[in-house]
Symmetry: C2
Subunit: 203 residues, 2 copies
Amino acid sequence: MNRGLLLVVSGPSGAGKGTICKALMQKKSDIHLSVSATTRSPRPGEVDGESYYFISEETFRSMIESGGFIEWACFCQNYYGTPREKVEEQLAAGHDVILEIEVQGAMQVRSKFPEAVFVFVMPPSLDELRNRLSGRGTEQPEVVEERLKTALWEFSNIEKYNYIVLNDDVDKAVDRFIHIIEAEKQRTERNGALIATVKERID
Amino acid sequence: MNRGLLLVVSGPSGAGKGTICKALMQKKSDIHLSVSATTRSPRPGEVDGESYYFISEETFRSMIESGGFIEWACFCQNYYGTPREKVEEQLAAGHDVILEIEVQGAMQVRSKFPEAVFVFVMPPSLDELRNRLSGRGTEQPEVVEERLKTALWEFSNIEKYNYIVLNDDVDKAVDRFIHIIEAEKQRTERNGALIATVKERID
């Protein structure tokens, strides 16, 4: 059995990563979305273990020290991180795993999992991005501006990603993800077992 | 407009490359299959300009000298080659082009078109391959054995290909090709124009 695919999904806040990932999991039930841990407080409607694992700063720091995170970062004075154990388990069991994380976290994953696939979700336009960011209605204008600046920084790292998925339409974007996942599984470097079997038969 | 994708398809004789490529073109009308030139005689039913361009050895050699081939090789005392001009035209017009060629030709393409995508078509098993090779019924046993030896040599080069497509079922194999083509179009390095536009907007 082949090891699962680790798919790292980034892109500016408001590009629609979350919506795509949810729709993708409904279409492909064998994909697992990694749940991040955070020290920030739950927002209304957020459920512990589903939206995030809400943990204390003390627990978070102790996990950092014990190597319990694949990647972690601090935004707006809150910690966010990807717990290592479940991801490793899923991959070993042959399941694909999605990490929906920020650019700086993604770069940490790349150094630890060079075989991971990095996908940058692109909003159709920067105007559209601004509309989407503002459109949530739950953020202050200065938060929107701050997020836009962050988005610009993220765009400047786009060439570190393997793929760019345009999110002009959720269904189309999901299909694009499926193409990427199915294609990556056929990459020669992921089929060492198949090649070894053939070579054994040849010798 | 993005340049078309150059897809190089190899794999042992009898693996089903030709069947897959034909089925793929029926499903995706925007793909063009490059027609090779050869100095061998037409077999019954083969049409000049469709199966191959049947040309004289003199013409072939003069095209080699003028750089008219992307790749060429000599098998069983006959020359086979991929004329450069049409392929370049199609790619420049944004059309995807398939070259269905032998391993040694594919390696020539790689040095000239490093951005090409290399796909190795794998028969479900070596036994199945032998069955398919023999099953054509049009070949002598020694030709079958010779082809099998060539197939083994081809397998030894499999790691030079980007993707391995298993041909256990033609429809599935065609879908696998479509995943590869659609995924490759989203690769970051093929979307320089998109990135440039975004960066321009940012600055």
